[in-house]
């Protein structure tokens, strides 16, 4: 009998996920669950992210000094850990976006060679 073994997350998602998380924080401090929901709805449910993987990403960003966190009350009067940008994080987001655009452009060029050569 063959059974599906536990599948580790794809490495390629990691950097991208960090960028997406930073992006969602542009509207102000947010807690983990809300960040997950935002990414999900904004991507029209097409990105299938195991919500669990958000937390390592958040901690990673915090360790890098790109976000800060504190425990606050939510509107529904629950205690939750809120994350917000740091100035360093803002700069990082800009860089990541640049890199992403370049990557998309580069890959696009390879996938559609004729168009780029004119």
């Amino acid at each position: 009998m063959e059974q599906k073994r536990y599948r580790p997350r794809l490495e390629i998602l990691q950097g991208t996920l960090d960028m997406l998380v930073l992006q969602t924080l542009q509207w102000g401090p947010q807690h983990g669950y809300a960040i997950g929901q935002t990414i999900r709805t904004e991507s029209a449910e097409s990105l299938k992210i195991e919500t669990g993987s958000l937390y390592p990403a958040l901690h990673r960003l915090e360790r890098q000094g790109w976000v800060k966190s504190d425990w606050r009350q939510t509107e529904a009067n629950q205690r939750a850990k809120f994350y917000r940008w740091t100035p360093k994080g803002k700069k990082q987001l800009l860089q990541e976006r640049d890199r992403w655009s370049q990557l998309v452009l580069a890959i696009g060029t390879i996938l559609n060679p004729k168009r780029s050569r004119g």
Binding site: M1, Q3, R5, Y6, H31, G32, Y33, G36, E50, T51, G52, S53, Y55, P56, L58, H59, R60, R63, A76, Q78, R79, A80, K81
Partner: protein, 882 residues
């Protein structure tokens, strides 16, 4: 966050993370309930959406640690867990630790010996292992020292050496009259202490200013041992007089307590300026280029290799020889590392140590195999646990690390226990060798950092071998097979366990055959006579110079002693000699000129010699092939005579008979006629090849240090007492510097066999025990796992004998395969130890046959018990069991 604060804040972070994830679930479930789902499906959906909680936590936690800290913390956790697991299984843990302790102990002990000979040969000396020794090699391959003029020349011109000191090791009597004791002394150059980086614990060391004019520096530095022994560690010892060979010298310092001179294995008691050689150890030979008596050693300049240094030294020596040739002596100066130096024990012991080291590693293989087997069996019983860990998201790496750490938890006590055991057995090995040696033997075998690091390294390497092989096997299994199929039968019949047992049997057979060969050499060597008969012969040494005798009075005393000895009814015969045979070290040699013989350009005509008195050959029962031995009338007034051995006679004059009447002379003496040809002896070691040898007559060639050989009727104690009485009667102030029987003295030559035989037997027994445990374990395990099968077989008619045979056969087949492999390996390897063997062939049938027999019988005995138990199986209860 820095690593340390992470360690402290780890719990806080864990709590924080837990709270965060709990909040997440609460929100997710609540949102789903609000949108109309029922609570239970909301909960499941939230969990499903989240993914693996444990793994998420693990990853988030991992973010907060640096690489090394993470390792340390995780490993610490593993260590705690591993320790708990092992405490829960005390039987398993203790057996593994005990087996490891044995294996490590043997290896650590051998390593300590190796360290004492090669790594740190000279305690108290700066970088002693990197010291290079300069010496000459004669065309016949014999090593000699450097002469004093050559040493001076080399020191001045040799650019390869950063420093170069010289010393002459002598046996000297320390003290006066009957209080004198025999000690090892070194006559040293002025830069000796500076070169070695040795200081004085009291007073000063010897300096350049002590190395100026011959006979003008009556000072000495004494060693720590002599200081404590003879002076009770008196702090006011400076300025006191110590008599060395009867010469008064003023003590100017006590050497560093760790320092024991530059002869590996010897403890040097006194250091005297080399300029005192003509006085302390006459005749004066410091200006003679053919007196090659200095051991020269120093540190090479940075970046200079031994080979380059040797090349440079050869060039210089050739220049020197061209401008000032030495007659009848051809040699080439060269440079060798200290571990190859012929001065001291290293060349004698290192081959044996090499052999023991090889054996030690084999033992370690058996130990690893045994432990691997245990771990493997345990691994099988732990499969369930490991499967659960994998299922909960532990990575394979993490799992392997856990298993590895568990093995380390076993390995480290094993290493420490091994070192402790080694430091316990080392003195036993050492004292065995020391008690048989004529002088204080010292090897730097103390258990120190080197040994500890070695043992820990070895043990961890074992942990790798015995931990990872089975761990890989365990962790490679598919998760699901682990969880569902716990049938152990597959594992019990596993190739790996069988292979381990086979290799154990093979290795133990190799060791047993090695032990057998060396044991047989030992017993052959014990019964070997070396060409002379040492039974009931004394070897009592006296020193005449110390009690004020010169040549004339000394010869007169010798004659009086010979008269007394002849009149003593308890002596069959008695004789005097300079050196004892089978002395372990080559005593001095002399260059000779042979009448009518023109030596080839590079021919070595310097021969080992002894100075012996009348009746020497009769007393030691050394046969003369032709001619006569020295008599009382071969004195100063008679024609100078000499006796040569068979090898020399045949080399120069083809037959012993031809040699009679031929003449030879030393550099300083008259022509001497050959009056006798004696059978060859083993002059230094039992394993030596026949060598040319010359005997000079004592009555024509006075020496002051003498050994009295008296062949006595009656027991050895009374023989020694009688000889002592005779010496006392002649002059009570004559010091007896050594008092033992010749057979005790020659036992030294056996010390290396004794050590090797003892260690190998120990190892052989150890491995065979381990192999027996291995076979027993395997068969017992197979029996246990096959209970059901046995039950079925017996239920359908197999009788007890069938079952017994079946399991016995499994053990015997494995032992047989192992024995064949072992025989092949032993046959291939035994040639390598040929130099250690004596009187037994490298393919000795008794050693090979006996070893095989022992291994096979022990294998059968080891399988017998579990096989018998299998045959006692009650079919009914066996079948009911599952």
């Amino acid at each position: 966050m820095n690593p340390l604060s992470w360690l402290f804040r780890r719990r806080a972070i864990d709590r924080d993370l837990d709270a965060e994830i709990r909040t997440h679930f609460r929100m997710a479930i609540r949102e789903r309930i609000e949108s109309g789902e029922d609570p239970e499906s909301a909960r499941l959906a939230a969990i499903n959406e989240f993914g693996n909680v444990l793994q998420t936590k693990e990853e988030a936690r991992a973010v907060w640690r640096g690489g090394a800290v993470a390792m340390v913390a995780d490993v610490w956790q593993d260590v705690r867990f591993g320790t708990r697991m092992l405490i829960k299984n005390p039987g398993f843990s203790l057996v593994v630790i005990a087996v490891l302790t044995l294996g490590i102990a043997g290896n650590a002990a051998i390593f300590s010996l190796f360290k004492g000979l090669a790594l740190k040969p000279l305690p108290g000396v700066r970088e002693s292992s990197s010291i290079a020794v300069m010496l000459s090699r004669t065309s016949s391959g014999r090593h000699t020292g450097m002469s004093h003029p050559d040493y001076r020349y080399m020191k001045e011109h040799d650019q390869a050496f950063a420093d170069l000191a010289g010393s002459i090791m002598i046996f000297a009597s320390v003290g006066l009259g009957s209080d004198a004791t025999r000690s090892v002394a070194e006559l040293v150059t002025g830069d000796y202490f500076q070169t070695l980086g040795v200081g004085a614990q009291l007073g000063r060391t010897l300096q350049q200013s002590d190395d100026v004019a011959q006979g003008q520096h009556p000072v000495a530095v004494i060693g720590d041992g002599l200081w404590r022994r003879a002076y009770g560690g008196d702090p006011n010892v400076l300025g006191k007089t110590v008599y060395i060979n009867g010469q008064p010298l003023t003590i100017v310092g006590v050497a560093d307590p760790e320092f024991r001179g530059t002869v590996v294995s010897m403890v040097v008691d006194v250091f005297v300026p080399i300029m005192m050689q003509p006085v302390v150890f006459p005749p004066g030979r410091l200006d003679q280029r053919n007196a090659m008596m200095l051991m020269t050693a120093g540190h090479l300049n940075p970046g200079v290799t031994i080979t380059e240094a040797a090349a440079q030294t050869r060039v210089l020596a050739a220049q020197l020889d061209a401008s000032e040739p030495i007659p009848n002596f051809a040699s080439r100066a060269t440079v060798i590392p200290i571990w190859q130096s012929p001065y001291g024990a290293q060349t004698y012991w290192l081959p044996a140590i090499g052999l023991l080291g090889g054996m030690g590693l084999l033992i370690l293989l058996v130990v690893c195999a045994n432990v691997a087997n245990l771990v493997l069996v345990r691994g099988i019983s732990r499969r369930g646990e490991l499967a659960v860990r994998l299922a909960l998201g532990a990575s394979r790496r993490r799992l392997l690390r856990l298993l590895f750490v568990e093995n380390l938890v076993l390995a480290i006590p094993g290493a420490l226990g091994g070192v402790a055991l080694a430091s316990f057995i080392l003195p036993l090995i050492g004292s065995g060798a020391a008690s048989s040696a004529p002088t204080q033997v010292y090897l730097n075998t103390s258990v120190d950092g080197y040994v500890l690091v070695f043992a820990l390294g070895l043990s961890c390497a074992c942990a790798l071998v015995f931990g990872f092989v089975p761990a890989l096997k365990t962790s490679r299994v598919e998760l699901i097979t682990l969880m569902n199929d716990i049938s152990p039968r597959m594992a019990a019949r596993g190739m790996m366990r069988s292979a381990l047992v086979v290799s154990q049997v093979a290795v133990s057979l190799v060791l047993l055959i090695g032990a057998g060969l060396v044991l047989r050499s030992y017993s052959a060597a014990r019964h070997a006579d070396g060409g002379f008969n040492s039974q009931n012969v004394t070897a009592l040494a006296i020193d005449l110079q110390t009690s004020g005798y010169d040549e004339t009075s000394g010869l007169e005393l010798i004659n009086r002693f010979l008269d007394a000895a002849q009149a003593e009814p308890a002596f069959e015969s008695a004789a005097l000699a300079l050196n004892v045979p089978l002395s372990l070290v080559d005593n001095s040699s002399r260059a000779v000129t042979i009448e009518g013989y023109a030596p080839r350009a590079d021919e070595d005509l310097s021969f080992l010699y002894n100075v012996v008195g009348p009746d020497y050959f009769r007393t030691l029962k050394i046969p003369l092939l032709t001619g006569r031995e020295f008599t009382r009338s071969d004195d100063k007034n008679a024609t100078p005579v000499v006796i040569v051995n068979e090898t020399l006679a045949r080399r120069m004059w083809q037959t012993p008979e031809n040699a009679i009447g031929k003449r030879l002379k030393t550099a300083t003496g008259d022509w001497r006629s050959i009056v006798g040809v004696a059978r060859d002896l083993k002059y230094s070691r039992l394993s030596e090849e026949p060598r040319p040898f010359v005997y000079y007559p004592l009555l024509q060639n006075y020496v002051s240090g003498l050994t009295i050989h008296a062949r006595s009727i009656g027991d050895s104690a009374s023989a020694l007492r009688r000889v002592r009485d005779h010496v006392q009667k002649l002059n009570p102030s004559i010091p007896i510097t050594r008092s033992m029987m010749l057979s005790e003295q020659t036992r030294v030559a056996l010390s290396v066999y004794e050590l090797a035989a003892g260690a190998l037997t120990m190892f052989g027994v150890m491995t065979i025990v381990l192999a027996a445990i291995g076979i027993y374990g395997l068969v017992a395990y197979t029996v246990q796992q096959s209970t059901q099968e046995i039950g079925i077989r017996m239920a359908i008619g197999a009788n007890r004998m069938d079952v017994l045979w079946d399991f016995l056969r499994r053990g015997a087949v494995l032992a047989g395969i192992g024995a064949v492999i072992g025989l092949v390996l032993a046959a291939a390897a035994s040639g390598a130890i040929r130099s250690l063997l004596y009187g037994v062939g490298a393919r000795d049938a008794i050693a090979f046959g006996g070893g095989t027999l022992v291994v096979i019988s022990i294998a059968i005995v080891a399988s017998m018990l579990p096989a018998w138990r299998a045959s006692r199986t009650d079919p009914l209860s066996a079948l009911r069991h599952q």
